[in-house]
């Protein structure tokens, strides 16, 4: 009896294993290429496990670019930008869900409709704006436009709406104002959604290419994806793929770590806000 039940389960596991392998293989290949020397990358018989393993692409990368500065830029922009996004989105979401004011839903719909405008369309107007502020090559240019996230506001608004009004009413009776209720009562209750937004925000800012390419022209302001693109030789030279892959590994690592540590909240956030990935 037990054996007949085993088969479907076994098949499911095998199927899942194949899917996992398909998902993981590009990452393994990326790691493998980063540990090869240039001549083995062009080898006609590809090696999955490099022989010999060499870290020369990592040292070369460190020689070619100011890694410390670039990683700092990426981290600074991603951390501060994510934090700012959480502050702005949570306050906006509170206003859109917990305070009654005339035209609230219309304004919310208008704000939400900005999600329908493709980001690339906004690049040039935003770029002209940033130039007129004299913000080129500054952290402000890299961070400020990302602070206003319609998606984040929507995500948190939906989560705030699930909190029973009784809590607030009790707090009002005790003399609390909106800020106290927002900070002490509502915000702690939406932590999983905040974590979800933080992961999304961080990923978006960390991987962002087009915007930093436009506004961070000086070497000392460039972020990782932009610097990696400069390493990719054009049609007039040979690309050192091992070095590009070493850079890609460095780029992927923080996202991977954040995802591993925030996984629990990440899943909870999706469940509580009713958003599917």
């Amino acid at each position: 009896m037990k054996q007949t039940n085993m088969l479907p389960r076994l098949l499911t596991y095998i199927g899942m294993l194949v899917l996992v392998m398909l998902a993981v293989l590009p990452f393994v290949w990326m790691l493998s290429t980063s540990l090869k020397s240039q001549e083995y990358i062009l080898s006609a018989t590809p090696q999955l496990i490099p022989d010999p393993i060499t870290f020369e692409s990592y040292t070369k990368l460190a020689e070619r670019i100011d890694l410390t500065r670039v990683i700092f830029n990426s981290l600074f922009v991603a951390v501060i930008g994510t934090f700012g996004q959480l502050v702005v989105a949570s306050m906006a979401a509170y206003a859109f869900s917990r305070i009654d004011w005339r035209g609230r839903d219309t304004v919310f719909l208008l704000y939400l409709s900005t999600m329908m405008v493709p980001a690339v369309v906004l690049v040039i107007p935003q770029f002209i704006l940033i130039r007129s502020f004299d913000w080129m090559n500054s952290y402000a240019a890299l961070i400020v436009p990302s602070l206003f996230s319609a998606f984040g506001t929507f995500l948190l608004r939906q989560t705030f709406k699930t909190i029973p009004k009784d809590f607030e009413e009790a707090a009002f009776v005790d003399g609390a104002n909106h800020f106290v209720i927002f900070w002490r009562i509502d915000l702690p209750l939406v932590k999983p959604a905040l974590a979800t937004l933080a992961v999304f925000g961080f990923m978006g800012l960390w991987n962002s290419y087009l915007w930093p390419l436009f506004v961070a022209r000086r070497d000392e302001m460039m972020t990782l994806p932009v610097v990696l693109a400069t390493l990719q030789a054009g049609p007039r030279s040979l690309t050192e793929w091992n070095m590009i892959m070493a850079g890609a590994i460095i780029t992927v690592l923080p996202i991977l770590l954040i995802y591993v540590f925030a996984q629990r909240w990440f899943v909870q956030g999706f469940i509580s806000s009713g958003i599917k990935g």
Binding site: L42, S43, A44, R64, F76, V79, I80, F83, G84, V87, V123, I124, F127, I128, R131, D134, S138, Y139, A140, I143, V144, L213, F214, R217, R218, A229, T230, L231, Q232, A233, G234, P235, R236, S237, L238, T239
Partner: protein, 408 residues
């Protein structure tokens, strides 16, 4: 704990908004380049240092971008009314920028002593005005793996070769092994206009530029010849290359002949087989690419005289020429044979003379104001012929219609 952390992050966020901008004391010129990145930034610094030594009141601030993003960024700068004072342009894009008034006429600021190749200088004139200066030139040659020629018991390519000779050799080299290919000659816009010139009777436009003639029988024949390298099995298709670039294939020793630019000399220098170059085979006549990069001054610059001074130094000074030649960073467009002596003595390849022989039959690309649209359209249609979706005639008929629209 959380409150403190939040406070710190909030302070940092505020700080980003009020960071002071860098104070400017000297005349600072902003120079934007694609050719220096990523390999020749140090050489560019050497040229800048020499310029700043001669002109202590001028500082040159460089920003660079990879070629693939360069023109997007330059366009954004121009649209944002904040173009760099001095910037690089390739010949194909020059007309677009010249026609829309982005470039300053620098005639009055030039010393007139710089020994430019007259043809190169003319290339960067528009409506009789000197709107940019020729910076460098390069060309495309036939690179060949001498070891594979020896294995196939073939004579090396000569200056008299036609494409029929090349295809015979390519077939013999392909027969050396399943993973060995005879020839790679790109199938795209840039290769097409050059092979059109080698054909001699295929022209993209009529003389007075009122109509496209890209679908003439000679042009159809040219495209069919380009595609035949693949269909006859001695040139790999994109699928067969599976992500490996043609240059990488050549460097791995599995490709007999490669049509590519002289900018690859450095990348192939350490190849573990013998290789050399020859001028390209002819169809009916010889024709070679003449790629030129130029340097223009923005029409909105606050420092036109200083910007023109830098543009001239960058393109024509002995320092700039020597640095370029010795580092292998493209060749200055100057009629000064002594600057090229060290270039000719470097090996590989042995036959560097071929670079200058190729310049005896130069072809510049067909250029219109809506250049990028033309290139994209022609490239897309050629791609469809490669994929077998269209015949050469059908693709070029469609190309004619599009090109006719673009020149209206």
């Amino acid at each position: 704990m959380y409150r403190k952390l939040s406070l710190i992050l909030m302070l940092l966020l505020t700080a980003t908004l009020v960071l002071p901008s860098v104070a400017q004391e000297n005349v600072t010129l902003r120079y934007f380049t694609f050719s220096a990145a990523p390999d020749y930034l140090e050489e560019l610094d050497t040229i800048i240092a020499a310029f700043e030594l001669e002109n202590p009141t001028i500082t040159v601030e460089v920003s660079s971008a990879p070629f693939s993003d360069y023109f997007t960024l330059l366009q954004a700068d121009v649209v944002g009314n904040d173009a760099p004072d001095v910037f690089e342009l390739n010949y194909e894009n020059f007309v677009t920028y010249a026609a829309n008034g982005t470039l300053l006429n620098i005639d009055e600021y030039l010393t007139g002593e710089a020994p430019y190749y007259p043809r190169a200088l003319e290339a960067f004139q528009y409506n009789g005005e000197q709107l940019a200066l020729p910076e460098t030139f390069s060309t495309v040659l036939l690179f060949y793996n001498a070891d594979l020629f020896d294995q196939a018991e073939l004579d090396y390519p000569t200056a008299e070769w036609t494409w029929s000779d090349a295809t015979v050799a390519a077939e013999a080299i392909s027969a050396l092994g399943d993973d060995v290919w005879g020839l790679f000659s790109p199938v795209q816009f840039w290769e097409f206009y050059k092979k059109a010139a080698q054909n001699g009777e295929c022209f993209f436009f009529n003389d007075d530029m009122t109509e496209s003639t890209i679908n003439s029988p000679a042009c159809v024949e040219t495209i069919e010849m380009m595609i035949s390298f693949m269909t006859n099995g001695y040139m790999p298709t994109a699928a067969q290359l599976s992500g490996v670039s043609d240059s990488e294939l050549f460097l791995s020793g599995k490709l007999g002949m490669l049509v590519t630019g002289i900018w690859m000399f450095g990348a192939f220098a350490d190849a573990d087989f013998a290789w050399n170059v020859e001028i390209e085979p002819a169809i009916n006549q010889k024709a070679h690419h003449f790629f030129a990069n130029g340097v223009g001054v923005s029409s909105t610059t606050d420092y036109p005289a200083e910007a023109a001074l830098w543009a001239e130094f960058l393109t024509a000074s002995e320092t700039a020429a020597t640095v370029r030649v010795e580092s292998g960073w493209e060749l200055p467009a100057l009629d000064q044979p002594e600057y090229f002596e060290s270039y000719l003595t470097q090996t590989p390849p042995d036959n560097r003379e071929a670079v200058f022989m190729a310049l005896e039959s130069p072809v510049t690309p067909p250029v219109i104001e809506r250049q990028n649209e033309m290139q994209d359209a022609v490239n897309g249609l050629i791609g469809q012929v490669v994929d077998g979706e269209l015949s050469a005639q059908e693709a070029l008929d469609q190309a004619k219609e599009i090109l006719d629209g673009l020149i209206q």
